[in-house]
Symmetry: C2
Subunit: 478 residues, 2 copies
Amino acid sequence: MNLNLSRKSKTPLYLQVYRSLKQKILKNDLKENTRLPAVRTLADENSLNPSTVVKAYEKLKEEKLIYKKVGSGSYVSSAKNIKIHEDYDDYVNDKIDSTQMNVKNNINFASATPSHDLFPIEDFKNAINHVLDRDGGKAFDYQNTQGYISLRKHISDFLITKNMNSSYKDIQIVSGAQQAIDIISKIFINEGDNIAIETPSYSGALASFKERKAKIHSFNITKNGIDLDELENFLQKDKINFLYCMPNFQNPTGMIMDLESKKRLIDMSVNYDFFIVEDDCISELNYFNEDVVSLKSLDKNNKVIYIKSYSKIFMPGLRLGYMVFPKSLSTKIISTKYSSDISTSGLNQRAFDLYLKNGDYDKHINKINDLFKKRFLHTKKLIEKYSKYFEMVFIPKGGVYFWLKLKNHNFDNFIYKCRINGVSLLPEKYFNTENKNLNNTFRISFSDTSLEQITNGFEIMKNILDDDFTEENIQPIV
Amino acid sequence: MNLNLSRKSKTPLYLQVYRSLKQKILKNDLKENTRLPAVRTLADENSLNPSTVVKAYEKLKEEKLIYKKVGSGSYVSSAKNIKIHEDYDDYVNDKIDSTQMNVKNNINFASATPSHDLFPIEDFKNAINHVLDRDGGKAFDYQNTQGYISLRKHISDFLITKNMNSSYKDIQIVSGAQQAIDIISKIFINEGDNIAIETPSYSGALASFKERKAKIHSFNITKNGIDLDELENFLQKDKINFLYCMPNFQNPTGMIMDLESKKRLIDMSVNYDFFIVEDDCISELNYFNEDVVSLKSLDKNNKVIYIKSYSKIFMPGLRLGYMVFPKSLSTKIISTKYSSDISTSGLNQRAFDLYLKNGDYDKHINKINDLFKKRFLHTKKLIEKYSKYFEMVFIPKGGVYFWLKLKNHNFDNFIYKCRINGVSLLPEKYFNTENKNLNNTFRISFSDTSLEQITNGFEIMKNILDDDFTEENIQPIV
């Protein structure tokens, strides 16, 4: 077995051996229950000291990629023991650097941001060049910490059409919604403070809350959004600093809170004195005229902080979003933004401002909406077709994802097989808030998949699951 | 007296009255010790309820802008009681939004970033357009959280020429150096933890450390950089998590640590087990071939985190910088960057990468260096010329600022008069780390001033100080 080792590399040889074997296992070149070469054989074939091979095998065994049988040697573990995405960062880095990803046969049900062929590059390029000609160096000077005033005014005008009567002074431009979450965490969380969140929920928010060492309490999503009875039971005993929630097309379930629940939540925020952090990343993708009224528009008591992301409906790499805050928080928010990164890129703010002003943004959203509605309906039909395998835990009302439950099959095995067969999914653990058992659920998103890819993806999943029974039967007991 | 009130505005009338009068006082239209109109007179002249005027006068009095004499009415306070920059944010927002600032006669000794006519807009515009044509939507997709790989590789190649042999895997791209400081604060500071810092130092760093509730210990700058004896005395009794310092052309003193001190500091970081956070914002502006060796290049024990800012030498609004970290910190830094803002703007990273590759950056730095050396020498000559008024506390070896001490004059009065006469300075309080008395010192920066403006600025300051004696003499005791 040739391991392609490099004597010139700074990487120790045992690590090279380990990596080379790991790759073969993950690529399925070394299939489960295959016997690995004896230590001495592999050492001789690659001119290695046997102890180097022993060290590599030990590392593989530690990671449960191989197992030992006494007197018989080492074998490749069964697929379900092989964990793939070790952590979110790896996953993100992996997905993100698309120049380096092997996209052959890849069906990306994992990403909730549009494929970049949907980005309006030409229009945005025009906006950028217009800004550079108009503003010159000003576009690259420090910007106002709160955000470019003209952009804030445009946003304020837009918000009025959504019954959010906030002045541009109540708007903070951020370098993406994640930064808004980070700013809120800094302001509202000290170690051990109680906050509340939905289950399942967005992992990036969770990461930020955990970093501040919050005590995170999670409440289930129901068909009307977060379970308000559960929440109220808790609030009768305990205080929270804020609730983080996505009332419209929640990530990952696609659920929407009904108006009555929204009003009740607003009342609760007053009665139990907490802030509501309303994350709106996708309310534009409203295919069936749902009433996507925001909590902010119902808020008469300055209890709602509204966060707007453009990553899922426009271009994530622009790193632009905003928050609308109660006046009393103004100084805290601006100074926390200042100490976070001083201000957001001027060129991006100014170009986006112009793009909004030209009406190009509205055109873009209409286009995306039409396209994604087709994908939504197509995906829904396929889930229904394959109802033998999948349960639609909630029936989403808009947005770009479905939250599915795998029926009657080994979950880890399914996720792993999807991965090695080129279908990326996000299993429950990426949305898990308190290590609750989410019962073999996962998110399927269609932002980055064509209708054809959606069809193919479901067929691959079906084939995996049909094979699954057979494979489970032949698994040895070790 | 006409107050230009608007009945249509949402701003309450008493606030309008207050603002109008405040403006007249700050503009010196209402000079010190002038008697204000009687309440009823002003009310009649502007068709106001007298209680509105009373409320406005009270607010002015609270802010010590006016004072009352019993039985005689209200008077404008003496100038030295009138505080101008209430806080840094106000200042920053003020300076930053240059479209709205009254720049007539303004001499900006406050800013340490270049005026935007020095930004290489045409070259950078070409780089942006090249990137958009080459990469299309990829430029607006999420980027690798650690940073665009090609940019990190270029930086790594550059670092090797500075004896910093760090791989691109040890580099984290950040949205400006402030974000690097924020990331470090998040990782290394829990409430009450000890950290060390120079006095005077950069206020943005201080804001971030305070936000994390660090116990900040500050050590004086000497002619060889931070006072290592003082620091070592402290370390013999107490532990610090890190020292934040600027060893080359320190902000605001312009001082440089000599090589021997740098080596001693590195040894101390090992012996007393702490990290050194080395902030390098300006080592390129080296007019006299000083040995600007970085602490990172001397670091054999993985104790130095190096932060590079481009704001003072290139374009601050680009919001780009990087940090070089010891391998052991890799996971923490990348995941903290992730939860801060996921990734830095792809377009800016890619355009800057191309700009570096084209060699345009080196050309730009050479140009800036030549220009700033002239300003440096010119400013130094003027300080020497006006040595009756100013003491050069340190003789800087490079960079863009001088740290001056005002001799024999009322400091607050001087700062205030500079402001109203169109000369912006940054007084000690913006660099103060523990409310230490910095003895009437201030920073003068020439990044944003022509040679002619520098000359004019010093003349204005001289005139202010020559008048000063007279004015002090006529100040009434109230």
